[in-house]
Every structure is written in structure tokens, then in C-alpha cells.
Chain length 304, copies 2
């Protein structure tokens, strides 16, 4: 199967520490790379992670708190210095374009590539990106400002041709795509060979959901039901549940409950508060609810 990976560049929260960078991650699906959030220092994390800058064409910003977007202007400048010509698409609250425009005009004058801002309505569940193999949907979050998560979903894939059958029936190349799509095959003698004898099951369509920053939003469970990998913020431990609620964040246990209720296959928790030197307590509390909990960490790559 083609790669489907989530590469964590930063999984700290608002106060940067020497342990965790501000939020950012790269999603690699086939030969495409997408970025989610872009906190300060993201371009350095790309360097450290040996990520090819030029393959990033789409950046999704969950919300306009600094720890999720202050790295954009530096990244955009560096793209320009590296001679980029490919368009860059940024999906974010419309306010981002308003704020960035004067900075782009001043700091990035004479850039050789265009930037397209795509305004997101964070209150709605929408498909905001689509290509031949995947879709990206918004997941409305509950935060102190408009904020949305993102659901990356592979489209249904074609069935696999069974090599022996293709040879046996001598199926011409030009008919194979149709058969992968489910068509039967009629031999020159008029015999109809049912598709089930020519193909086997398509690879499953994989999915990844990113939910940060937010109070628990069980209303999104219907969209992320059975998701292969769920990244959910877990800023606080249960002892700080009140603080989580008042700042519109989740505890590790709440993140795990979402994973459990949404029947996620695996959960990655991140967006750790700077108060936790080690995040063991967060992992422990999440695992009590959802055993298959993993910890985000800078440089860690999760394969789906």
C-alpha cells in the first residue's frame, strides 16, 4: 500500500518548552504531503525531520492562536528563498488572509509563487479539499475562537486484478481499468466472467482525524467513526479538568473517551501543557479508557 503517515513536528501547547515545539504536523499520503498547523519554528522542525519543503502545497490551519500559525510567515519566506514556483494553498479562517496580506506584501515582495487562501467556516462540517485519491473534511471544534479539526480520508480504492486470471483470459490492457472498477469480462467467445473471479478486494480506505484545540466534541463522532488514527489534544491531566474546561481544552481521559466512543483504531494524544515535564500521567490516564493510546513526540512518525 502507498504510505499514509503522520509526522509530528510539534505537539506542545501555547508556551513553548525545550521538550515540545508549537503545533505542526505533516501528513504524507502517497507522494503528497499536507501540513496541519504551523506554529513558530515549524520550518526548523521540517529541516530536522528531513521533510522536503517543496512537496508541501496545502497547509490547513485549525485556528488563529499563535502556537498554531506563527510559523507561517517564516515558512512562506523560506519557500520563496528556495526558489519555489508552485502555488501554495492555505486553508484557514478568513481573518488569516487579512492579517497576513500586509506582511506578505512587505516581507515577501517579489515572490515567485502565488498563495491562495481558502476561507474555512469552522462551524460547519464540510469537504474543503478533494483530489483524485483523498478528501479533507472540517470537524467543528469548541474552542475560545473559531476552530476546526481535519479528517483526511482516502477515497474508495480500485479492486486488485488477479494476475493469473488476467493471463488465463488474456484480458487486454485497455479493459483492465474497468475491471478494477468492478466490471465483468466477456471473452471473445461471449462467455461472461464475473468480476469476483478476476479481482480481489480493494485495499481499505484509510483515514486520519486531527482534533485540536477543543473541548470534547462527541458530535463529531459520526464523522470520525472507525477512524484509523485519531490525533486528539490532551492538554491537561484529570487533576486540571476545571482548567481544561475553562480554557476550552481536553484532558487526556476525555480524549480517550472520544477515541473509545468513535471506535477509533488508535489514538495519539498531543498538545501537552508546558506544566508536564514528563507526560506519563497523560498517557496513563488515557490508557485507562482507551488502551491503544500513543504519545505524540517531535519527530515521531505514525504509519496508518
Amino acid at each position: 500500500m502507498e504510505p499514509f503517515e503522520v509526522h509530528i513536528l510539534g505537539c506542545g501547547s501555547a508556551l513553548p518548552t525545550t521538550r515540545h515545539n508549537a503545533s505542526s504536523q505533516v501528513i504524507r499520503i502517497g507522494n503528497k504531503q499536507f501540513m496541519i498547523d504551523c506554529g513558530e519554528g515549524t520550518q526548523l522542525q521540517l529541516r530536522r525531520g528531513h521533510v522536503h519543503f517543496s512537496f508541501i502545497n496545502h497547509i490547513f490551519i485549525s485556528h488563529l492562536h499563535g502556537d498554531h500559525c506563527f510559523g507561517l510567515i517564516g515558512l512562506i519566506s523560506t519557500f520563496a528563498l528556495l526558489g519555489r514556483t508552485a502555488p501554495l494553498h492555505i486553508y484557514a479562517d478568513g481573518m488569516l488572509e487579512t492579517l497576513m496580506k500586509p506582511h506578505l506584501d512587505f516581507f515577501c515582495k517579489g515572490m515567485n509563487y502565488p498563495i491562495f487562501f481558502h476561507g474555512i467556516d469552522a462551524t460547519k462540517h464540510n469537504i474543503i479539499y478533494e483530489d483524485n485519491t483523498i478528501t479533507v473534511e472540517t470537524l467543528p471544534q469548541k474552542h475560545r475562537m473559531p476552530c476546526c479539526g481535519f479528517l483526511f480520508k482516502e477515497k474508495p480504492k480500485k479492486r486488485h486484478l488477479i494476475g493469473d486470471a488476467v493471463n488465463y483470459y488474456n484480458i487486454p490492457a485497455y479493459m483492465r481499468q474497468a475491471i478494477k472498477d468492478g466490471a465483468d469480462f466477456t471473452t471473445p467467445d461471449g462467455e461472461v466472467i464475473p468480476n469476483a473471479r478476476l479481482t480481489r478486494e480493494a485495499d481499505p480506505s484509510r483515514s486520519y482525524a486531527y482534533c485540536s484545540d477543543t473541548l470534547p466534541c462527541p458530535g463529531n463522532n459520526k464523522y470520525i467513526k472507525g477512524v484509523d488514527l485519531l490525533y486528539h489534544e490532551a492538554t491537561f491531566a484529570e487533576s486540571e479538568k476545571g482548567r481544561a474546561a475553562s480554557t476550552f481544552h481536553s484532558t487526556a481521559r476525555q480524549a480517550a473517551q472520544i477515541a473509545c466512543d468513535a471506535e477509533a483504531k488508535r489514538l495519539v494524544i498531543g498538545h501537552f501543557s508546558s506544566r508536564y515535564d514528563e507526560c506519563d500521567i497523560l498517557q496513563k490516564e488515557a490508557k485507562e479508557i482507551f488502551e491503544n493510546t500513543l504519545m505524540a513526540d517531535e519527530g515521531r512518525i505514525f504509519t496508518i
Copy 2:
């Protein structure tokens, strides 16, 4: 003597690398801390260097290229998150305030401390900061946009009282400041004791000059003559002299020539181009002209 230190936070140039961060440094004079330039990731470098955020009250920005100022908004936000109440003074081209104002209003709404922008005329040599012990002067640079260096100078210090003389003549406490300032002492019997017998030489007034980004500017030598420590950009090796000229930067050798002509005591070179994996060639070329050349590096502290 009180400390006078230059703490390098970043000494790379426009393209960030895993070896060098964007430009920033902290100048520590007595119990005061000043920041020069604030590229992306500066607040993380402050963390790594265990620098007290709250002691930074004055930030000097040489010019408005991203690698010298993109870290400001993140630093300002973090100051706010840490509960800062002390005013912050930023000295920079007036355009910075225009550009930052909408970002401060949006990202730092409700901050508990004021920011004062002080517009700099980078074309002039001026005193732009003064307190009881130091002055900061601008040094006009030649770059692709208005840019200035900064000269930090201690004011002349008081002479030291000679303890034995103070005891012998039983000099009352209230007269000691005047004697430190150079006054003679008249005993109760009317005998005049010349100052030279009561005091010894004051500590020398130390100085530090920061010159980046710029073509060589020998016109500033009269201001920095005899400077204790000169930080001068040395973006390129001699083999890239043409490129240095066309991008308004200096070679290591040119930086060393300035140090030589200005009779600097020591030279620190920095702002290294990302093309140099190791900067040995830059050090070698500078040392051929000016032996007392040191290399900037992240985390390195130079004591004056």
C-alpha cells in the same frame, strides 16, 4: 566588575539550518538585559539558554528582514502568557509598528503590559537609548533596506575609593560619592587631601558593537574605534565576494578589515550563510587579517 556579556541565540542568515538559528542575541550589562534582533525561534533559544524572559525590557531590531524579526510576535505573546506587566520597548524602523499593530490587536488582545515602539532613523548615527550606566547608539549600515547596527557603551565610571585612605582620614559616608566623582577631601583641620591619594582609577568603560546585515561601512569606524568587542556579519567567504556585494553582505575578510581598521580588541563573526556546513573557512579568512577573531555559535557567551 559587573558582568557585560553577549549571549548568542542565533547567528545564521536568512535560510535557517539545523546548525544555526535566525539572528538574535542578548546583551547583559550589570543586571539589565537587552535583546538585539529576534528571528523566528528566538523564544525557544531563550529557553534553551536559561535566559530570564522577564528581564528583557528593550529589544533593538536592526532591520525588517524576516530572519531578524519574525520571532517578535511569538515572544510578545509568550511574555503575555507568562503574566508580564512591565512595559516592553522596541527600537526599530517605524514600519514595524505599522505591520505589528494589527497582529498585536488580534493575537495579543487583553495583554497586561504596554509595548512602546521607538522609531529609528537607520541613516543617522544617534543615541537611541540612555540610562544611568549605558548608552546605545545607532550605526548606519548599507543593506538592501534601511538597517543599522548598535553600539552599547558604558558611561564613564566613578573612581574607586582606597579603603585604607578612607579609614585613615575617617571620611564620612556622605562625602564618599563626591570623592568617587573626583573631589578632594578637606580634613577637620583644614588640610586638603588631593583626590589622587584617596581614589584609584575607575574601571574602564566597556563597549560592544553589533554590525549586521551590511556591506563593510568604514564610515562607522570613528564611532566604534577601540571597541572591546565587535560583532560583524560575515555571511560569505572570499570566494563569494561578488555575491556578498550584490546582496549587501560582507565577507569574513571584510569583517576582519573593519575590526582591524577600527582597532577593535576582539571580533566575533556571525550571520553565516547556510551554504557553509562548517564555518572554518570563514574563521581562517578573517584570522588572516585580524588574529583576534572568534566564531559566534548558538549558546556561546562572550564576556567583555
